[in-house]
Homo-oligomer: 122 residues x 2
């Protein structure tokens, strides 16, 4: 646990959401000015591999990182583009039952209008 990694984790813990490496870089640089992009990427990769954070990928966009390591699902709003958490109860278990497979991990991204956008039009 280096100072840099601690700073990255603190930034992610304080700001709720789904960050790009660039956003984490900017925010971490504010508290740790010497830090460099490669360090951000190294740490994010390591943290994702250790399942301390989760990676979300969208084609045409930089990866995002979710500070919440517990498997869950995501909505990407078709209107505002934001990534929103959703939780489907026992999803992994349901998948295993349905497919008769030993699921190691999964990613489910749903494209629909998010709650905020639905309300804002009403």
């Amino acid at each position: 646990m280096t100072k840099q990694r601690a700073a990255i984790l603190k930034v992610m813990a304080e700001n709720d959401g789904h960050f790009t490496a660039e956003e984490i870089f900017t925010k971490t640089k504010a508290v740790y000015p010497g830090i460099v992009r490669a360090t951000i990427y190294n740490n994010l990769n390591a943290l994702a591999q250790e399942n301390q954070i989760r990676r979300i990928c969208q084609s045409g966009q930089p990866d995002r990182f979710d500070r919440n390591p517990i498997p869950h699902e995501h909505i990407i709003c078709t209107q505002c583009g934001e990534v929103v958490d959703v939780w489907i109860k026992d999803f992994k278990h349901k998948l295993q039952k349905e497919l008769h497979l030993d699921v190691d991990d999964y990613e489910l991204v749903i494209h629909c209008k998010c709650e905020k956008c639905k309300e804002s039009i009403a």
Copy 2:
């Protein structure tokens, strides 16, 4: 429908699987030597937008394109890395019921050992 697009679609129809733009470029170039990468990308983007093909994204890897436009699910093998189709009956409908949402589209990628790899160890 240009000659180039027809060639791309033919290549995708003849070879079953999940291709990268580069693979499609190489295979299409064999039958249509003048073709250029930008044309491949333009057409794949257009086809994906029209839902004639589907795009699969994996972080750290180039996008893949699935010639099968009907929504379905994917396994990425934790051993060989191949992308394999799976079909979960009424998945979209189940999602909508579970989440009380109007799902426009979704992507489900499952990480586990594929059938081929499971057998090959036995």
